[in-house]
């Protein structure tokens, strides 16, 4: 089997390392002047202006059911989904890793359900576990709402 290599943009949220296929990532930016949106789902941190585009910011900590992070200049990963711009709010951005597809495994059975829900598999790195984010599922905020309802 020929192993293809995939580049991942990595980020940490609540101490967990995540990876996003670099092809899905538009840009990485520092959050500035976020406008909160009343009555929106709790995962939606707000909206912001990124070079003239209105971006919907999703708080990954909340999305993963963690306590909200510290307020202040936070980093966000910009992605595009169905013609709309989103920003995933993360704790810290990491390096870009080039990983072989052969190293990717299915979700371990003991993976936390909240993580498992947005995971497209894991890579076992030397010292830690990298969860590959399934962007489509991360953005299924409405679906999460439906679950809650």
């Amino acid at each position: 089997m020929i192993e293809t290599m995939t580049e991942y943009v990595t980020a940490t949220v609540g101490g967990q390392l995540f990876g996003l296929p670099i092809a899905r990532v538009q840009d990485v930016f520092v959050l500035d002047r976020l406008t909160r949106v009343p009555l929106a789902a709790p995962e939606i941190a707000g909206v912001l202006n990124l070079r003239g585009r209105i971006v919907t910011a999703i708080d990954m900590r909340r999305r993963l059911g963690l306590a909200p992070g510290a307020v202040g200049k936070r980093m966000a990963i910009g992605i595009e989904f169905k013609g709309e711009s989103y920003g995933l709010l993360i704790d810290a951005i990491g390096e870009v890793l080039n990983l072989s597809s052969g190293g990717r495994e299915g979700n371990p059975v003991n993976l936390e359900p909240r993580l498992a829900r947005v995971s497209a598999g894991v890579h076992r790195l030397e010292d830690r576990l990298l969860v590959v984010l399934d962007v489509d599922r991360v953005l299924d905020v409405g679906g999460a709402l439906a679950e809650a309802a």
Partner: protein, 884 residues
């Protein structure tokens, strides 16, 4: 110029230019079938259009050219002579088009010279090549001076026609007896044309270009961004008072505004574009339904944004179908009704303010109110009792309810369950209004009012709980600053906040509470700003923490993750670069609690700036007095709600009084069971009119309820108007009119006597809102349908509009035109000369009665003599019923 002709010219000139270029390419690459096909297609199209438009000369010419090119397509060798001939022909076509553009009709004359050559070449294909090189060269100059065509022999002509059968009307004899235009004259004409063209710049072909919609959309987006950037700069300069940027920025601002307007203009399209298919549709319907239908279209040139145009295209088509199918009667029925057999559907459009008003009118049988009633009851849209109290207009508006159809048979035309509710939904979506007017036997008119554009709106920027929001200016009526102790202050009825504004209690809602962003913040603060908004007939105030300024904002669609929030219409980027949410006034109105049907029901009236009091929705103040049973009074009658210290209440002559705003105000218990409290605060309902106030003593103020008020008039009890179901509880509605005379001796005793009356329409004219508010429900309860006017001018306007009015009741003492003058004016108008008028006055003297008689008052009633008024009304309307 004829629209069709203009389009033809624009299009043909484009095509011809393409043919020019393509032909040259073809000459170099004669084996390229694709190019040939392209040319052939273009010429063929021109030929077809010419035939359609009745341009025989052009048609004959293109036909001949097409025949020759057909030969090429069939494999005849392509010679340069042939191509030259075709190019020459094209030059001739261009010349003809040029003339056509100037004269708006095809110039007389013929082109046999070219047609014959084209025919010959088509017949002999290659023959022409060697035989007549000079001929080709000569015709090449044809535009400057056409060769005399009398050289052509009849045989040649015959041959040409056999080879290329032309249109039957081809001016063949003209070749035999030619009338060649004088070359000199031609030249002069052409020159003159050139000069004209330069001077007036009227060459349509070169004046309009086709631009792809995407290009315009992109331009619009860029301009929107520019507007935002401009706003951003303005914001910065606002913070620095003496900036040297001010001047240039002002200029930039103006230029931007102009640019914005210019770009908007490019998006404007005549509404006729949405009507194009209608004549055909109506023609087909006419056949299908067996009705003769005439479609009139007025104002097709009225322009609106193409985005809006797209939105209304389908609704309009649907409504025209509807008019044809349901509106117009069958020819036999029309004949029986004394109408012409041919029904008319009239479509019209006009600009009105920043809106466009479209009307679809038919001269059919009108809406069947009875059928609508039963359909409404069958669909549980209203109860029979509710419907009985509704005006005709209200009942007719049921046709916009979801799933509503009265069509007895489902035809292929309409009545398939997709009805006016869908039309209305489409129109709602773009912030438009739809209404219907129908006169039995005379026809139905639908009117649609929609904004010209959706892209840029003016908005008021406000703050609530530290966040800013944009409120579309369109819905904002006014701004009120409130402070505790100032003239305008927030009053409270239990937990509901209200604002007393010009003698009306306005329900208030805190924006932060509505958006649930108040946290634990205090919503009871008495300082703030109230944005008074009107959505349809619903007026309410939104309490915000601060109001900034108005800004032109570009509405950007919200993310799909946020679109479910009904309180927001979209978001935008402000001048300072931050994103803010745009409030949706309809959403707010709905969350405050009123239904869209009711909103629309009264919307039309409000647009006219008048209040017809038949919308049925009333704000009721619910209170308790003497017993646990709730009682209610029309909120609009109440001037103020007070809680006063019991210690301040004095007693004189056995009556309770209180010092109130520099006057002694009498306190009247609602009934004998109510006791003024011994200690603490006493709640009061204060009623004022013309400087006099009285207060009703109540035990407790419960709530304000907005709902349709159906008073059942069964009460024999003094001071009780009747009872009504309010929030599902039987509630006594008190009669304020009863209490007024108890407070002041000169307010005459009002007593009740009601007799069932036919629903005659009464126009009530009184400058005092208090009396209007008091009499409207009263007369309504006595079985009259009431329209009120605040002045004689307004009353005359209503009458002039042709609204059906059976009786006019007018106050005599009014500022400006008084009741006597109004009566004279009504008498002078032949249409209303016989309309009964009842005068209403607090001054009833013999001389006044006499003057009233002279100006044509039918009756004269003292202002507080309710019994007398109703009796007078009955008498007048009874006369009328007999006469009818």
């Amino acid at each position: 110029m004829d629209e069709l002709l203009r389009d033809f010219l624009t299009e043909t000139n484009e095509s011809i230019d393409v043919v020019d270029v393509e032909l040259v390419r073809f000459e170099h690459d004669p084996n390229n079938a694709k190019i040939l096909d392209n040319i052939f297609r273009l010429v063929h199209t021109i030929k077809g259009t010419c035939g359609f438009l009745g341009l025989p000369r052009l048609e004959a010419l293109t036909h001949a050219a097409e025949a020759l090119m057909g030969n090429f397509r069939d494999g005849a060798p392509v010679t340069s002579e042939a191509v030259t001939l075709i190019l020459t022909t094209i030059d001739r076509i261009k010349m003809l088009l040029d003339r056509l553009e100037r004269n708006q009709s095809e110039e007389a004359g013929d082109d046999q010279d070219l047609i014959v050559q084209l025919g010959r070449m088509a017949a002999g294909a290659g023959v022409a090549k060697s035989a007549e090189p000079t001929a080709a060269a000569r015709v090449a100059r044809v535009t400057a001076s056409p060769p005399p065509s009398n050289q052509v022999s009849l045989e040649e002509l015959e041959r040409a026609f056999q080879a290329a059968p032309g249109p039957e009307a081809a001016p063949a004899p003209a070749a035999a007896a030619p009338t060649p235009p004088a070359p000199a004259g031609e030249g002069t004409d052409a020159e003159a044309a050139g000069r004209d063209g330069e001077r007036a710049g009227e060459k349509i072909a070169s004046k309009s270009i086709r631009v792809h919609v995407d290009t315009l959309e992109h331009l619009m987006t860029m301009v929107s961004e520019l507007v935002l950037t401009r706003n951003q700069l303005l914001e910065i300069v606002r913070r620095h008072e003496d900036s040297e940027f001010k001047g240039p920025l002002q200029r930039l601002s103006n230029v931007t505004a102009e640019l914005q307007e210019g770009v908007m203009k490019t998006r404007m399209q005549p509404i006729g574009n949405a009507w194009q298919k209608l004549p055909r549709i109506v023609r087909d319907l006419s056949t299908e339904l067996g009705k003769a239908i005439e479609l009139e279209m007025h104002g097709a040139e009225t322009e609106l944004d193409r985005q809006v145009l797209e939105f209304i295209r389908d609704p309009l088509t649907h409504m025209v179908r509807n008019s044809a199918d349901h509106g117009l009667e069958m020819p036999a029925a029309r004949r029986a009704a004394g109408k012409p057999e041919k029904g008319t559907i009239r479509l019209s459009a006009r600009h009105e303010g920043g809106h466009i008003v479209i009307e679809i009118a038919d001269d059919g049988g009108g809406l069947n109110t009875e059928r609508i009633k039963s359909a409404a009851i069958a669909r549980n849209l209203a109860t029979a009792a509710q419907i009985a109290k509704m005006s005709e207009v209200q009942i007719q508006r049921f046709i916009f309810s979801p799933g509503f159809s009265t069509a007895q048979t489902v035809t292929s035309v309409s009545g398939r369950g997709v009805g006016l509710d869908v039309v209305r939904a489409n129109i709602d979506e773009i912030g438009g209004l739809i209404d219907v007017k129908s006169v039995a036997g005379r026809g139905t008119t639908f009117s649609i009012k929609i904004p010209l554009t959706l892209a840029i709106v003016s908005a008021l920027i406000v703050e609530a709980a530290g966040d800013r929001f944009a409120i579309p200016q369109l819905a904002v009526v006014e701004l009120v600053r409130v402070r505790s102790g100032s003239e305008h202050r927030i009053e409270r009825i239990k937990d509901a906040a209200v604002l007393r504004l010009r003698n009306k209690l306005l329900p208030l809602v805190h924006l932060k509470a509505l958006l649930k962003i108040d946290g634990d913040a205090d919503c009871r603060a008495e300082d703030g700003f109230i944005v008074v908004m009107q959505v349809g007939s619903q007026m309410f105030g939104i309490v915000v923490d601060a109001v900034f300024h108005t800004e032109e904002i570009v509405v950007k669609p919200m993310s799909s993750k946020l679109r479910h929030i009904p309180l927001f219409a979209g978001n935008t980027i402000l001048g300072d670069g931050s994103v803010i949410m745009i409030i949706e006034p309809n959403g707010i109105a709905r969350s405050i609690g009123n239904v869209a049907v009711e909103r629309d029901a009264a919307a039309a009236e409000h647009e006219a700036g008048r209040q017809y009091d038949d919308s049925g929705i009333e704000s009721m103040l619910v209170f308790r007095a003497g017993s646990p049973q709730p009682r209610a009074v029309l909120l609009s009658l109440v001037t103020r709600l007070e809680e006063i210290d019991v210690g301040k209440i004095e007693t004189a002559n056995g009556r309770a009084l209180v010092q109130y705003r520099g006057q002694l105000m009498p306190l009247i218990p609602v009934n004998d069971d109510v006791r003024i409290k011994n200690a603490g605060k006493q709640p009061l309902l204060v009623f004022s009119d013309e400087g006099r106030s009285m207060a009703l003593v109540v035990d407790e103020i419960v709530d304000i309820v907005e709902q349709r008020l159906d008073i059942e008039l069964v009460s024999q009890q003094l001071g009780v108007l009747g009872s009504a179901q309010i929030r599902g509880q039987a509630t006594e509605v008190i009669d304020v009119g009863y209490y007024l005379p108890l407070a002041f001796d000169d307010w005459q005793v009002w007593r009740e006597r009601r007799v069932a009356a036919a629903r005659h329409r009464v126009l009530l004219v009184d400058d005092s809102q208090f009396f209007r508010n008091m009499l409207v429900p009263l007369l309504g309860a006595a079985g009259f349908s009431v329209t009120s006017a605040a002045s004689a001018d307004e009353a005359l306007a209503i009458l002039r509009e042709g609204m059906r009015v059976d009786v006019v009741i007018t106050d005599i003492e009014m500022p400006g035109m008084d009741g006597f003058e109004l009566a004279s004016a009504v008498r002078r108008d032949p249409r209303t000369a016989s309309l009964p008028i009842i005068g209403l006055s607090s001054l009833v003297s013999a001389s006044a009665v006499e003057r009233g008689r002279q100006v044509g008052l039918h009756d004269y009633v003292a202002k507080f003599d309710r019994q007398g008024l109703i009796a007078a009304l009955k008498e007048q309307t009874a006369d009328m019923s007999r006469a009818a």
